[in-house]
Every structure is written in structure tokens, then in C-alpha cells.
Symmetry: C2
Amino acid sequence: MSTALLTDRYELTMIDAALRDGTAARPCVFELFARRLPGARRFGVVAGTGRLLQELREFRFGDDELRYLRDHAVVSAETLAFLEGYRFSGTIRGYREGELYFPGSPILTIEGTFAEAVVLETLALSILNHDSAVATAAARMSIAAGDRPLAEMGSRRAGERSAVAAARAAYIAGFGATSNLEAGRTWGIPTMGTAAHSFTLLHETEEQAFRSQIDALGVDTTLLIDTYDIHEGVATAIRVAGPELGGVRIDSGDLPTVAAAVRTQLDELGATGTKITVTSDLDEFAIAALAASPVDSYGVGTSVVTGSGAPTAGMVYKLVARQDSAGGWVAVAKASADKGSMGGRKAAFRTLARGTATSELIVVSDGFEQVETAAEHPDARALQVTLVDHGETDASYEGVGGVARAREHHAFVREELPITGLALSRSDPALPTVYEDA
Amino acid sequence: MSTALLTDRYELTMIDAALRDGTAARPCVFELFARRLPGARRFGVVAGTGRLLQELREFRFGDDELRYLRDHAVVSAETLAFLEGYRFSGTIRGYREGELYFPGSPILTIEGTFAEAVVLETLALSILNHDSAVATAAARMSIAAGDRPLAEMGSRRAGERSAVAAARAAYIAGFGATSNLEAGRTWGIPTMGTAAHSFTLLHETEEQAFRSQIDALGVDTTLLIDTYDIHEGVATAIRVAGPELGGVRIDSGDLPTVAAAVRTQLDELGATGTKITVTSDLDEFAIAALAASPVDSYGVGTSVVTGSGAPTAGMVYKLVARQDSAGGWVAVAKASADKGSMGGRKAAFRTLARGTATSELIVVSDGFEQVETAAEHPDARALQVTLVDHGETDASYEGVGGVARAREHHAFVREELPITGLALSRSDPALPTVYEDA
């Protein structure tokens, strides 16, 4: 399925005009970055990169796409011919998926002709903005949960394909499982889930429902105990399953109170190993508030898939450098004060002191050449890698392997955050962004 | 592409247990509804129905899907055999797409066996929750904009496939166009867009960029005038295009002030017919605040695709009635007080007085038979139609035609709202939900 029309019309009309005036082939550098962190958070988490690389492979204008553009007179015949042969042949460098980012971090740097790079604006932003918003919220929940496992179960509160991407982003940022089967199939994420209230209501009694579930899924299953009275539900669950019952799930009520009462009741019934999962309207703050409660794991729905108040990361895709008609490089930026962005090509480093991050160092150059200043910053970690090299994608960032790699990288870089970076409250970014001329 | 794994795992494990205990084939009634309107809004707008009907056609477990479920031991061999033959053969009645809804409105009623109906929970909710959230926000913006055209341009702030659905939902709720080309192709929505700041920055001067755009797109195009100084931008635009220029776009600054200054300048230059489009961080409140400003049209991005603060409609999918082992019907509902829902099958009517809606009347019955009370409510409009009849989908609600029909229906039903229903401020729903026994 072609991804080429997941594009704002103005990208094609710009190509149309640029092909006509001769600027379409000018070498350009575009940058994808965030001006600020939504929700006054301490850090953002990059996610979606692997998905973008895969969708870039499908970014082709086939017969159907060209027919639509021709029938609706979107662009000229010359532009249709250009699009028919379109393949991105440029280079994309960027932050690894799972990496942290801060205001101004050059998350992706796209080099190519104007025409081949400008046309990726919408697709790149759609994917990175959505997935990074979810991953950022998920990372905060993961910090709040500590060692307790988190499962993502918010598919029903997200568009049906975004739900799959959300499960993937949450997994990269520290969740351990998802309820979404397509996310399991496509991205290799462990899936979980046993029964809803409808299963209990389908049966004449709660006891019949529990018995049926145990017959099918074994005594290690998790029983949902709050369809009717929770105290009765727990008693019935242990009567049916015995004290070896794997777990109970609570989906309503004042969770600290209910969890404590259920734990006491389970222990009194000898079910000391039976785990408690809670799943009712949790976000990072509710999870943090349950830290002292006898809860074994969390299921999070709406808040993680909607970015917990920040459903988009707000990243932008801007031209930052181009060649002029004489072949020299020029740094460019929009002048409007309220939307200022920094022109020029950038290299990014995270400076560290004894293993703890101290700044987001961004070295700015007017030129096209890759800025290599790692040697001048021996304590800094270089943040950018080559994702696409002259049209050739590094497949190690794609697919199931790419997800595993991103999850591992995220866990690694989160350890570098200063302790203040772990706080959930609104504040400034955990690291200052420092600009330096090349 | 199969949609069958866009499903939470627990739906399949419930089927697994129900097939084993003999309850899987019990006739059931599920209902999709909202307990409340997010954001304390006056009404909600149903959207996504036509998409659901299309994705229901693709809800088949093929070899790839079955292999994944088998390899990961999600369900038993017996359940795999059931899924292999799965086709929804039940009946879905519901609100027309574009209809208004209120707390408790039975937006969809799904009748079928437990197994065939429970498995649609996630897909139905993913689509309706997302699309209705966008449509509800869009309707409020459309009310705020009055007769001025609205364009949706938020694709970059939504997952790449949700972006297409968002454009569709906004169009149903009153927007006139979208920037998203895939939405144009798939759903027949007019597309718009001319140029971004990068096009100006690509050129040595703003004048060169404007000249190039006019050469390609004609003097009727819209020029983006705020890359550098807005006053200079307007002067350059008219110098290059002449007073016949189609429009200018402003994407930054304090819009009431800037729009007034640009209008004055355009008029002084004789460009009295040149239109002004504004596109900077608009939501329904910002649009309302521009009512007295000389603005001709609005472009809305982030806020419409993210539901303007309510990114999900929060609808749920609940078992409300089932047959018992003796073949009689039983109304069922979860008891937990904080998540109470009303059991029983429901028929819904909007009562009217002299053309203005007065209540959402919901007639509740325990039984399976369709409640036919329209005759008893001669001033009421019946809200439910048959979307799928024993497995046969009514194709008139699908595709481009379905979108056009939904848009028309929305415009019609919005006229019935009492005047207080048009207010943007937080309040109670515009209509009370009234329950009546059949």
C-alpha cells in the first residue's frame, strides 16, 4: 500500500513551482525538531523512526496515485512525471529510536534535493509526532511504576492503526506488554488479556464465568472481580480457583482502598501468591500514587495512547540550509519572532559528567559537511546515526529487531538522566540546550 | 489487508472459554455508547460508522492471522477453527453518521452470538472513539466560524492513517476542505494548499518565491506572507501579483492585530478582493475571537485532529442483554456504581417541539424484539437505522457516498439544536437524556 498520498497538498504544489523555476534540484537540508516539550515535561522520547523507514520504502507514486493527482489537477504533467520516478535518494541522519530529546534537538536531518526532501514533511511528522507523544507519556509511567510491570491496553481509545503504533511506542519506552494482537504480530510485542465484564455477564453467575475461564485458561489466569460486589468476587474467585489463582484484576473504585482490601482478603484466604492488577483510568500520577499500595502490575489505556494530555509532540520539519545558485551553502530560518528556529546544519551530543547527562550540545554549521566534533567533546555521546545513506536504508533500525534495539537503547539512555529529570511535575527540561558554532 | 487482529487479546480468550462451556452461541445484544460528553460539551457528533462498515468487510482471520495466533498459543485449536470461518452474520443498528449524540445514546446496537459480537469491541471503539472526537471538535469550530470556510490541515499532528480519518470526520462535521491528499482520494474531500515557509527560504528572495508560485499556480493562488516581515511580504505580494491576487496566508503573530493591518494594507494597494486566510494555532475559541476580524477563511491543524483537548470520545462497548439457557431474554449490566450502565435493548428518539430538539428519549426493553414506539411519539425523530442486516451491510453508508450523506445529515440535525446547544463554554449537555420503559 503506497504511503505517497499521506502528504499535504502544498508539498506537491511547491515541487510543481520549483520544477518550473529550476530550484527543485537544489541540495537542501531539512530538520525535524521540537521547539519545546509539551506539558512542561523534563524530556521527550523519540519514537517512530523505524516505522518511518519502513513507510519510506512504500513512498512511491503508482498508477492509482498519479491518476488521482492528474484527475484533480493537483500538479502539472511535468511534476507527475517527476513523481512517477520518485525514490528518495538522499541521506537521513538522526537520533536513535528510544533516545531522549530536548528543545532544539535535531531529531532527524534530511539531506537531498528540495523536491525529494520537502515531500516527506507530512509523513515524517505524522509518524514521529504521534509515536513520540505516546513514548514520552509511557516513559513517565514507566518511571512512576518502578519495577512493577506495565501493560498497554488503550487500543479502543486510539484510531485503529495508531493503536498499533501506540503499543509499539509504549513498549519502546518501558511497557512490558500490550493487549493489541496486531502489535504482537507486527512488532513482536508480548500480548496479554483474559476477560472483560461481558464474559461474566454472559453467564448466569459470576462463579460459572470464573469456572469457565479457569477451565479454558488454567488456574494461572487473571480473574476480573469487580462486575458485581468486589468482596464477593474475591471470595468466589478463590473458592473456584483455590489459593493458586494467578491473579485478580480491579477495574473500578478508589484503587488504593480497594487494592488494600483485596490484598488482605486474598492473604486471609491463603492466596498470598495471587497477584493484583489494576486497570482503572490510570495515568503517571495515579500510578505514582499507588506506589505504597499492594499492587503487582498496571494496565494503562486512554492516558498512554493519548499522550497523557499531550497527544502530539509538536515537532516541526523545517528547511535549515540550502545551496545558492552559485553552489555555496546558506543557513536559512523563518524570521517571525514567535516561531524562531535555528538555521544551519547541526551535530548533536549529550555531554556527561560521571555518567550523568549535563547538557544537549548542538554544534551549528552553515555548511553541508558533517560536523565532526566528537573528538573535541571526549565526555560527550554523539546522538546522531545514519538511518538512510544516499537512499539506502539501514535495515537494522526496522522491523521487530529495530523495536527491540530501540527499547534497549531507551533503557540505557534513561539511566543517564539527572535525578531531577525523573520528576513528574511541570518544570523546565532536565537538560539545557547549548548551541555552539562549528 | 485484514483488520481482524486490530483486536484486544481478551476478546479471543473469552471466545475460547465460551466455546468450551457452550455459551459462545448465546444470542446477545451489545451496545456502543458514551457515559458522558468529554470536556463538558453540549453535544457529541457520531463519526466513523462508514469506516467501521468497510473495515468489518475485511475482518477475516486468514492464514497469516491464524498462524500468529497458533504460534503464540493465544487460543485453542477449536477456537482457531471458529475464527477461520468467522464472518459477522448479525445485525447492527445505530445512529446515522453525522448524527448528534448525548450521554447514554445507543450509538450502535450489535446483535449476534456472543462470540461474533464480542470480537468487534476493539475495532468498533477504535474507529468511533477517534472519529467522533475529531468530528465533535470540528463541529464546534464550524459553529464558531459561521459562514467562513474552514480547512483541516492537521495531518502532521496525527498518526499517518488517523490523519486521513480525521480529515474525513472534520469534513462530515462542517469543514470544507483538507490538506491531506489521501483523504481526497479515499473519501472525495476537496484538497487545498499552496506553499510552506520552506518554499520562500529555498529562494534567494521572497519576491522570487512569490513570482515562481504565481507562474506555476496562477494569480489566484494564496501567498504565505510571514516568512520575513509581514508588511514587506504584503507589499511584495501585490507588487508581484497585482491587485488580483487570490489570497494571502498568515501563520504567526497576534492574529486580530495582524489581520486588521494586512486588510488595511491590501485595501490601500487596491487588492480589495484578495482574501485573508489565517492558520496559526487555531481552535474553536480562537476562531470565535476572530469573528469581528477581517478574516476570510481558517486553516486548523493540531486542535481539530486531537479533538481540541478531548482526543477520544470515551465510548464503551457493553453487553446489555443476552438469552439465558432457557432461551428467555435477560437485561444485564455491570453493578460497580462508578461505571454504571443501563442494561436492556434500547430504541432512541429525539423529541422535538416546533422543530427544536427537547430531549434524547431512550426506550428500554428487556427483550430482543425491536422496540417500535415511533407511533407513540409523533413529534419525535427515530435515531436508529439498520446498518448491517443479518450480515448484509447497507452499502449506502460506505465510501464517498456515505461521507457525503453523513455531512448532509450532520448539517440537517445541527439545525435542530436549541440555541444554548451552540455555546462553546463548559456546561451540561444541550438535551436531557430521558429513559422510558417499553
